[in-house]
Symmetry: C2
Subunit: 73 residues, 2 copies
């Protein structure tokens, strides 16, 4: 597996927030990988929205709408 | 907004990966926040799977199945 961009210590903290007592290192890396995949999908969608609005810069509003779309809300 | 756990520099890198030239700092923070929310959801689901399997430790396989479920694949 390619080393994830997102730090696995951060993933351990997210899992604690979710109520987990213990999280294997492989699980933390798997979560980082899953979130990166989702993050790239959201960013691609956000870029489409930005370009459609005639911008080259992704703004928070682009991310917001893209995240809603990807998560099917 | 609460300071996101996930570093915004990491979010900038994800956006570049997605093909974006420029990303506002607010957008990077918004993406971090969205991924954290999704991450906690996945972790909660993974914890359910782990406990159902009689474990207190979240393993990579729990994350995998939880991520698929959350992402509706």
């Amino acid at each position: 597996m390619v080393k994830p961009e997102i730090a696995s210590a951060t993933m351990h903290r997210l899992c604690k927030k979710a109520g987990a007592e213990r999280v294997s290192e492989a699980a933390a890396k798997e979560l980082a990988k899953a979130l990166e995949d989702i993050g790239v999908k959201i960013a691609k969608e956000a870029l489409d929205f930005a370009m459609h609005a005639g911008r080259k810069t992704i703004k928070a509003e682009d991310i917001e709408i893209a995240a809603r779309k990807i998560m099917g809300k």
